[in-house]
Symmetry: C2
Subunit: 314 residues, 2 copies
Amino acid sequence: MALARSIAVLIGGVGGAKLASGLLDAVPAERLAFIVNTGDDFRHLGLKICPDLDTLMYTLAGLVNPVSGWGLKDDSIAALDFLAQCYQVEPWFRLGDKDLATHLLRTHWLNGGRSLTEATACLTKRLGIRAAIFPMCDEELPTIVETLADGELGFQEYFVKRAWQPVVRALRYENCERAKLSPQVHSALVNADIVLIAPSNPWLSIAPILSIPGLRDLLSQLMAPVVAVTPIIAGDAVKGPTAKIMRELGLDVCARTVARFYQGIISGFVDDIRNDPADFADLRSVQLNTLMNDQADKVALARATLDWIGSWSA
Amino acid sequence: MALARSIAVLIGGVGGAKLASGLLDAVPAERLAFIVNTGDDFRHLGLKICPDLDTLMYTLAGLVNPVSGWGLKDDSIAALDFLAQCYQVEPWFRLGDKDLATHLLRTHWLNGGRSLTEATACLTKRLGIRAAIFPMCDEELPTIVETLADGELGFQEYFVKRAWQPVVRALRYENCERAKLSPQVHSALVNADIVLIAPSNPWLSIAPILSIPGLRDLLSQLMAPVVAVTPIIAGDAVKGPTAKIMRELGLDVCARTVARFYQGIISGFVDDIRNDPADFADLRSVQLNTLMNDQADKVALARATLDWIGSWSA
């Protein structure tokens, strides 16, 4: 039975959280461990902001804003408006009032000496989330975007302030040589019956995770199936800059490019039914509906992916 | 003309801010310097909160909540509610969403190395306040309340969490021996034509200011008139624990007790018309309406006080 297996998921933000939401309906929460990109994290007004951790937490707690896919539903923005209007602080990074509560509490705990792994465990527990959510590491590993015209940009400056419009020449995962695989991430991976790579941006969301020394080797040595879900459907990304970045890096915008990016790590690849059938060389592959427009789509993709992987040993 | 003189005011929170508001209507803002109690300051969720500075800033900026006399008008409380409901953080200290903006920005600046004097100057400037607002010092000087039944309590624990119900045995201004008179406070006092002590709580709001080494001596040596306004009207405080604390400290709840508390510092005392005429020994004194129910009362008290002091040299 697929339902009893432990599943570890490498994951980024909004796109990945859709699959996470499906998995939560398909698998007992206690069997799920998410290993989350923190390359997007930054400090804003002294607050530690972890966009991908928050998106996943809010999604799994049933609190996410269903329209944007990130932030909290029914949130207001009084604090940021006041900062802008009365203190002339440019509100380029949108933070809701309720959302601020998360950043305040996390920052308070981090400044008090807790690790990000510990702080995340406390937040998720208080939110009633029973799945495990681990930051990819406890060190700060900011993603740096080398742009054609504007030099190096911090991730949020590129992504939010500049609305991912600058042309990307390369990506750098700063400090990655100093990052350590946390015991929690290591344990989640070695104990997983299945490892999934969510349909997140491979370069912005998954590559930072893979840049942690030892993680790539660990994945390649696992006996468990490691399966990626395509973030590319019909030659484009569902949302966000994946396809744009691929073009800017001189890559073909297709599922095969993504599969090749994960070469040596994955044993299987979930392609989309809309894509032209492709040859994924020595990988097992399947075509499923990976476009998740509603909760039924999310659960169906989660179940179909797990069923397909379950069929390997049959 | 009284209107052209420079006025320095030692001041606490809500009660003092009423007189400050009156002074702002009676005197050009540029001639006003407020030296504000910071004994109530504390850190909450990592944020530096300065209740008396905020009350005065919001009052002078015309943003204060007119009902409570502190906090911002038209503020919401989404962040704190979310902290309570989703993260089980007890919301004992009420912080509005807009109000959070002030604490965030100040904390960010302080953590970045600015002094409280500098951070306050930046905040007031951005709020469009033309009067000078100085924290009494840059060091942290937390007021500690020694209670009869509950030992020592931090100020906000006594004042807000326990609603000033514990019986006070003594007050202590921690670290006061290490505090330094800032150049700004020194300059405001030596350049003042008049120094006022606002009708704030003498033990909770003014005594912390007076505990700064050198301040008491400086005040006693000034040539300018130093005048206190009674916080006691008809045997009681208008609001807050002044009268209660006086009783608990074994003091007579009357204006004379307050005047005696400021002995050696003040040269004049503004008593209230409702009080029994008292003998203030070698002090000049006058009875005015010190009960400030509306803006007209505030301005009238400010003008009458300055006119009275102006008449000394006549």
